[in-house]
Symmetry: C2
Subunit: 371 residues, 2 copies
C-alpha cells in the first residue's frame, strides 16, 4: 500500500478510548489529517453516542472500531498490544480509572515511551474538582462563560447553539497532540497531556476577562448588549443578521433602512454608545426590519454594502451558495457530514467517510498482521 | 542561546500580519508552544485591537512587534526579508489584498517554498461571499449556529458569551499550521491554508446538524430546551448550574431539592421527556432553588453527588479553588492572563508574558543579525 506524503498524519496510529463528543471530535480531526484511528469500545453497547442522535455518525467518520472489555484479561492483553503499536492514546475516563485498569501514564510509558497520551476530563487530573461529575453546562458555568451567555438582559443560558465546552476541549486536545508529535520528532519521546474541559473554556474566556476589567466590571447587559449588531426578525418570520460595529456600516444600515436621522444622531455615533442606548435603538430597527421579507432585505443591504447574512436554519445549510461552492457538506450513506473546514494546497485531507459498526475491526486489527 | 528541546515550536518563526482576534489568538497558541511570533502592524496606530478593551493584551503575550507600512518600498523590502527567514506567515486581510501588495501565496512561495502560509477570512478565499464584509455574528448566522442560539424559546441571539466564530477559526488555523509543519518535515515544502471563519463554525455545527435531522427537524425550543440541565437562580440572586442528563442524577437532584415525587413521575423518566415537558418541570425547580442561597445549594447538591457548579461571575474566577489549584490565571503587569489550558509532562510551554509596544522590535529584528 502506498503512503501519501501529503496526508500529514499518514502512518500515525491513534488508539481512542473516548466516548461522547470531546475526545471523538479530536480524533476525527487527526483522522481527517490521515491518522489511523482505532476506536476501542466497551461491549455490548459501545460508545453511548451511538444512541444519541447523530453525534456518533458525525465524529466517527473513517474510524475503525474494536470492542474490548478492559476488565477481562483478554481485553487487557489486546489493549497492551495496541499500546505497543500506537503513537497516540486518548482517554476520557474519570481521573484514575485507567490507572486502576493498569493503563495509566506510567504504565503506558513503560510499555512504549513514544506514546503521546492524552487524557480529557471535565475538570482535569488535579485540583479539588477532579473527581466531580459534570457536563458541558457545568464547565461553562465554573469558567464564567455562562454568566455572560444567553440574552444580554436575561438570566444565564447556555446559548451558544454548539457544544462550546466539548468542542473547545477537542480543539485544544488536537493542537496539543500535534505539538507533542512535533516534539517527539526531535526528542524521540512521547508526552502526557492533561486536558481539562473547564480550563479550555477559561482559555476561550481570556479576551472577555480582560475586556470586563478594562470596562470597569459592567453588568451582563452592558457587557453583552448590542444594537445594529445581531439578528432582526423580518416580515416573513425569518431573520437576518447585521454586523454594524463600525460607524460607516452603522450609517449605511440606517440609510438603507430608511432612517438616516438615526445614523446621524450624535448620541449614537460611538460603538459603546450604541451598546449603551440599545433599548432606544433596537425597537426602531425592529420596526423597520418587519416591513420587508428576509430576501428583500438581503438584496437591499448587500447592495448598500452592509455586513448582512441570512440567519440560516439548519435545513438551509446544504443549499447555501457559499457552502455549495466550498463543498462543505458531503452526503455519506445519506447523512450530511461537514468537511474539514480548512482548504489546503500542498497538503491533503481524508474525505469524510462512514462511521464503523461496533467491533467491525476486531478481526482485522486484533488478529491482523499490523500488530 | 540554548534551545529547549521541550518547547515544541522552539526555532519556528511566525510572521503575523493579522489583527483583532482570530489570527492573534492562533499565533498566541503557537507562541505558547515556543514559536517566535513577530507581529507586523501598520503605523501609526497598529492593530485596532490595541484600542479594544483588553483584546490585544490577551492575545499579544510574548510577541514581538514591528511597524511596517506595506505600501512603501521600505516596508515591502522589510517584509520580503521577513518572508525569506520565516516558517509561518499569517494574514487576515480581505481576499486579494496581500496579492496586490506583492505577497500572495505564489509570490511568497517563489521567495521561500518552506513557508506555511495561513489566510484567515470571514468567508474564505473562494465562493460568492468571498468579498463581503462581516463580523462574528454574520459567520454564526450563515453557518446555522445563530438559529439555535440564545434562549431556546426566544429569538436568535449570539449568546455564547465567548467569541465563538473568532476562536473556532483560531483553533482550526492552529491545528492546520501544526499539521502543515509536520508535513514539511517529510516533504521539505510549505503549504497554503485557506481558513474560512464561516466554514469553521459549520464544522462545529456538524454534530448538531445530524442531531437535527435524526430528531425530525424539531423547532428551536424542542431542540435546545432543557430541564434539570442549566442555570437556576438562588435566593441570594446568584445562580448554580446543574447537569442532570442521566436518570440517576435527575432523581438525586429531585431528592436533594425535596421533591422526590418529581424524580419518580413516570412522565419525566426519559431525557427527551424532560426536554419536552420543560415548561412543567422548570417552574417546580425554580421554586425550590429560590429557597436557599447559592453556597447552601452547592453544599447540599455536592453531598448528594449531583453535577453542580457555581455560575461564576468573571471577578470570581481568579479565586475559584479549582483554577487556583491549576495555576490557570497569571497576573502579568497587573493583568489577569489565562494560561494555556493543557498541562503537559514531557513538553514545556512558554509562560504568559507582556504584549509588545507597537514597533518595539523594529530595531532588533529589521536591523538585527537574525535576518
Amino acid at each position: 500500500m502506498g503512503v501519501s506524503l501529503l496526508l500529514p498524519l499518514e502512518g500515525v496510529r491513534v488508539v481512542d478510548l473516548t466516548n461522547f463528543l470531546p475526545g471523538p471530535f479530536c480524533s476525527m480531526i487527526l483522522s481527517d489529517f490521515g491518522a489511523e484511528v482505532i476506536k476501542v469500545e466497551r461491549p455490548p453497547k459501545g460508545d453511548p453516542a451511538r444512541y444519541q442522535g447523530g453525534m456518533f455518525t458525525s465524529a466517527g467518520r473513517n474510524k475503525k472500531s474494536v470492542a474490548l472489555d478492559l476488565k477481562s484479561d483478554e481485553g487487557k492483553e489486546a489493549l497492551r498490544k495496541l499500546v505497543l503499536n500506537c503513537d497516540v492514546l486518548m482517554e476520557g475516563f474519570r481521573p484514575g480509572v485507567l490507572d486502576r485498569l493498569g493503563f495509566g501514564w506510567e504504565a503506558v510509558r513503560a510499555l512504549n515511551d513514544r506514546v503521546v497520551y492524552c487524557s480529557i476530563s471535565g475538570f482535569g487530573q488535579t485540583g479539588p474538582n477532579r473527581d466531580l461529575a459534570g457536563h458541558d453546562v457545568n464547565y461553562l458555568s465554573i469558567a464564567g462563560a455562562l454568566s455572560i451567555s444567553g440574552d444580554p438582559d436575561g438570566p444565564p443560558v447556555a446559548g451558544g447553539g454548539v457544544q462550546v465546552a466539548d468542542l473547545t476541549s477537542a480543539m485544544y486536545a488536537a493542537v496539543s497532540v500535534l505539538a507533542a508529535i512535533i516534539n517527539r520528532g526531535r526528542t524521540g519521546k512521547g508526552a502526557y497531556l492533561d486536558v481539562s474541559m473547564t480550563d479550555c473554556v477559561l482559555a476561550f474566556m481570556g479576551p472577555r476577562i480582560l475586556e470586563y476589567f478594562d470596562r470597569g466590571m459592567p453588568p451582563k447587559g452592558t457587557m453583552m448588549g448590542r444594537s445594529g449588531f445581531g439578528a432582526y426578525r423580518t416580515r416573513d418570520g425569518k431573520y437576518v443578521s447585521v454586523g454594524c460595529l463600525e460607524l460607516n456600516f452603522w450609517q449605511r444600515l440606517c440609510d438603507a433602512l430608511g432612517d438616516p436621522e438615526l445614523g446621524r444622531d450624535p448620541k449614537y455615533l460611538g460603538w459603546f454608545d450604541r451598546m449603551k442606548y440599545r433599548a432606544e435603538i433596537n425597537p426602531r430597527l425592529d420596526e423597520k426590519f418587519l416591513l420587508r421579507d428576509r430576501d428583500e432585505w438581503m438584496k437591499i443591504l448587500r447592495e448598500a454594502d452592509v455586513p448582512v447574512t441570512p440567519v440560516n436554519r439548519i435545513e438551509e445549510l446544504e443549499n447555501d451558495p457559499q457552502f455549495v461552492s466550498r463543498g462543505m457538506i458531503k452526503r455519506v450513506n445519506g447523512q450530511p457530514l461537514v468537511a474539514f473546514p480548512v482548504k489546503f494546497e500542498g497538503l491533503e485531507l481524508r474525505e469524510p467517510g462512514p462511521a464503523p459498526e461496533l467491533g467491525a475491526d476486531n478481526g482485522g486489527i486484533l488478529g491482523g498482521p499490523g500488530l
